[in-house]
Symmetry: D2
Subunit: 338 residues, 4 copies
């Protein structure tokens, strides 16, 4: 029996055709190294255009590294970052912010479906500064959230405004920004809202492996390439991290293929609601479906070859990606329906 990772995560898929095409196209001739070549410049231009913002753009192989490096730029080692308690930086990045930030702390905040509750944020901001605790210097947001929710611009503003008013900076983990964009989130809102650093996800959107680190505040970028190199995040043949973005952005595939992923999630959710006894634990707004499922049923699924995982809140998570097929949705719905 073949192991099936179709719904295990959105990084179990390969690279989308548009990404492969421009990766191959970039593989010609000799170019200068370490991100100084025209392929990197073109990809960065396309990202600035897509975000409608003047910003520094770099390409990294790891989203964990991109997030952690961004946070290390926004908070001093003796300070902390506010983030949702279920945010990837808090739960799935092995303490990387503490490594990149020489001990920078994380302050977990609660809220439904991965969205930070404004009242909880305000309480955190109201805490007095004391020497024995790491006070927050930045807020980290995730769009779409770990539970597949898409913040409206007004919701983000309600979180960002008090944070900015208190003199903190803002980071946005956009590992699934393409899914949010496909769900209607206006990317121009990011700079409009005053986000200081964005990690714009490529890998989960269909690139082979690449995340764009986007810094809006130019005062933070002194010797940015040296910072990347020092932290092991500047590769010599950088064109191979940048090139796939060109195909994905010029063709529109970056968001369109994520629209497909979102549609597959909707379809799967419908099937589950129609044919199974399982309750959905979060609204389906992007490419994730969360299901309340007994352990026995999860094991049965595993026995049939399907790998999916119980998530932070106890739900079982089904992720769709650019590569998810309607057939696979049908197949797993059938297995679940038994």
């Amino acid at each position: 029996m073949k192991a099936r990772y179709d719904f295990a995560s959105d990084n179990t898929a390969g690279a989308a055709p548009e990404a492969v095409e421009s990766w191959l196209a970039a593989n010609t001739g000799f170019v200068s190294g370490y991100g100084t070549d025209p392929v990197v410049a073109r990809a960065a231009d396309l990202i600035r255009e897509r975000l409608q913002a003047d910003a520094e753009v770099r390409f990294l192989a790891s989203g964990t590294a991109a997030n952690a490096l961004a946070l290390a730029m926004l908070a001093q080692p003796h300070e902390a970052v506010l983030a949702h308690e279920h945010a990837h930086v808090c739960t799935d990045e092995t303490g990387a912010p503490g490594f990149f930030g020489a001990g920078v702390g994380l302050i977990p905040l609660a809220g439904p479906s991965g969205k930070i509750e404004p009242a909880v944020l305000e309480l955190a901001l109201a805490l007095p500064d004391v020497s024995y605790r790491q006070a927050p210097a930045a807020l980290s947001l995730t769009q779409a959230t770990e539970f597949g929710q898409v913040y409206a611009e007004t919701e983000l503003r309600r979180l960002i405004e008090p944070v900015k008013a208190a003199g903190l900076r803002v980071h946005l983990d956009g590992a699934r920004l393409a899914n949010a964009a496909a769900a209607g989130f206006d990317l121009a809102a990011i700079s409009r809202l005053g986000v200081d650093a964005l990690v714009m996800g490529g890998t989960k959107a269909g690139l082979p492996l690449s995340e764009a680190l986007v810094i809006f505040d130019h005062s933070l970028t002194r010797r940015l390439d040296a910072r990347l190199k020092h932290a092991g995040q500047l590769v010599s043949k950088a064109r191979f991290l940048a090139a796939p973005w060109i195909g994905m952005l010029v063709s529109g595939a970056w968001s369109e293929r994520s629209a497909h992923a979102n549609a597959m999630a909707s379809q799967l959710a419908e099937r589950i609601q129609a044919r199974t006894p399982y309750r959905l634990t979060h609204p389906v707004q992007a490419n994730a479906v969360f299901v309340d499922m007994p352990e026995a049923d999860l094991l049965r699924l595993r026995e049939r070859g399907w790998f999916v995982y119980r998530f932070l809140d106890g739900s079982v998570r089904f992720m769709c990606s650019w590569a998810t097929t309607a057939e696979a949705v049908e197949e797993i719905a059938e297995v679940l329906a038994v």
Copy 2:
């Protein structure tokens, strides 16, 4: 006029056909993430086979990161690493060992053409341990050296033996190990000599971007994947870092294409000696040619579109790669001959 980076470095070339082919072949279906997939397993097996050693193998996007992470495993923060004063870790990695190692130090050693002089090493080992100085816990070697020299196994033994006897560990920066192998260096010697951690270069050998971190001493690898993740060096779609190794190793291209690079360097060296007034400053054993050249001549070369750089010892460096053509060698020899 077109900018020519043919000889600027061996990372200005693209990816070799064999690497592209297996990269493309790996882009099918869904696989588990973070290095747990069969592509990664196969590539690791091929590397173990090529090195004739049982070792842990991981694939990283950056050689700087791979070196720095290895050194952080071999020395404590309050200790140091002995390395040639012109080694890449000392001169071209922006202090990355200090970042990955929380302040781990580097002790530069002298020696001709990038090779550490045994007598100099012995002096360093003889220094007393004192609390106010970072004492060495490891030796870092480079094969081939920054100046294109290939250590003989006996030469390496002469350096490694006293180091091991003193209780230190050994790291080998093999960014250009393929060139050394092509020049006759037996890769099985690495484990035979007791090297603890090797960075086996892929990028400069014709991969798109990938270095293999090879740990021979299994006592060092507790939670190695967590260590990588924590340091921002574990990518989700790891198959794309591993796959190119398969094509390169199965076909033999990893070393054969480096043999070509070496041959191009020899050819270029011959042309320079035959047709120009310039003196070669180091023997040509791998893929680099170093030339004693006045600044005016270097500028003239730049004006003709050719980018090459003055190196650490003042020589001008011409690097050949898997992609260097005989025509390009002829072209630049002509420009140099004028």
Copy 3:
């Protein structure tokens, strides 16, 4: 009105006469620096004798530094330390373990009155090792706990045994070890139980400022003085950190004066129970009294000049020290009784 810090903490007191005496006695003549002098050697001997253990002993000015440095010796940066959620290292040390340990993590565990619940610990130990989470490499215990509880040796054994069986190491924060000793805890149990690193508190026991870092496992101490120096924890005139220990240990004052502190806490607890409506929220076993008190009453206390603080669990904390007088206990009991 004079500000009164008598019960604010046990570090608001000055230095005890026995500590001052031996501090003054050490201030004669010229001695070698950085901990190599006879005063340091003598103090270390006395500590080894008191602990009935062969161990490396160093003297640091800061307990936070001593704890963090110890944890950095017991866990790798990509690993974590298990500790009570209210332990000082978790709540009051500004993320210092993350700084000293290059991002080492903390895993908070629950349990009553600052004691770790064995079942909670076992759950944490049972979690699978995964690359995206910092797995525990050590357990940090506190004796007496933040809530003034004293673990019995059997209780400690029940926590340490499964931890040791799982291959983890053990740290003991003994900032108030003197109070525990005064309450009957046998110091010889520390090495008997297999604790790897102890921070033996001097400051809160009546020294001017000094904590003893005690490492039982000699395999951890390679170049320990260099490690201290590298981390800014090796002072030149080390005799002044070591000397007060001599007076305190030779005279027995280290534990006897803590017995006085404990007695004062008992007396205060009795007064509160006899004369006020307040409920004690934790048993009084060492030098702390915790009280359930409305905010208005706390403010009234503050207005009368008395500084005490609301603690992690919402209780108001009254700390006694070697310097607490029966008169002060009477005074505050009177204020509370109104």
Copy 4:
């Protein structure tokens, strides 16, 4: 035979009477912790007054920590600090700047007798910023230098002006600032020259153990106490680090006793020149005497019980301190004269 450390260093002496007196005077009653007490405030005021500058002042137990923490405030991890190749931060602090600064680098500069040569500094400043090298973000100066020289204000200006013009910051290691002040250096020059962070030495000037970290640029001090705590440098009973400054500064002993140390060095230098064959290798401007001495003679000295050390340039160093007596100078001169 008694070991004699009189000339081994200026930290082999104990604490001066004025320091002891105010240390004892501070040991009364209960005060708030962690540097918030009136003793700390008073000592800080006295330092601001002495420096004629509005600055943040904190008291640390270790000069290495104070220097490293200051450098970590002035340079980012991917940047470096320019310093004399023989400066204490480069040669005697076990890589602490790399630890406190998460890999911050040091760039050693040459110059006679520990003074940086302006032309060498200018060369370093002229180097282009590249991603693969840690570019300088700060200059670290030492007054008096490791070789006992006292920079004139004009000399410092010649070094600081180009550095400030290039946008770098300035750190002054004043471990022996008292000796420089005693030799005529105007302390008000420090803020006048635009120094950003000063470590004002107490320990070598006769305090038991205390260095003042003085930050002139208030934009650097956000959450300074949390930064100190995070780095293990905020002690609870801070009054004991601050109090000795009060006695030393109010009485004038801080510089007057250093004037004595300087005078003893002059006297020793005279004796050596008059009665021995040894050449002085550096001018005697502060409290150090450096002598060109064969190994056999050094060993003979050691056999007679006198500990002195061969220094970085090969000279044998004799340090005088506040506690050096004319008798000891006579004694050692006699031994040397034989």
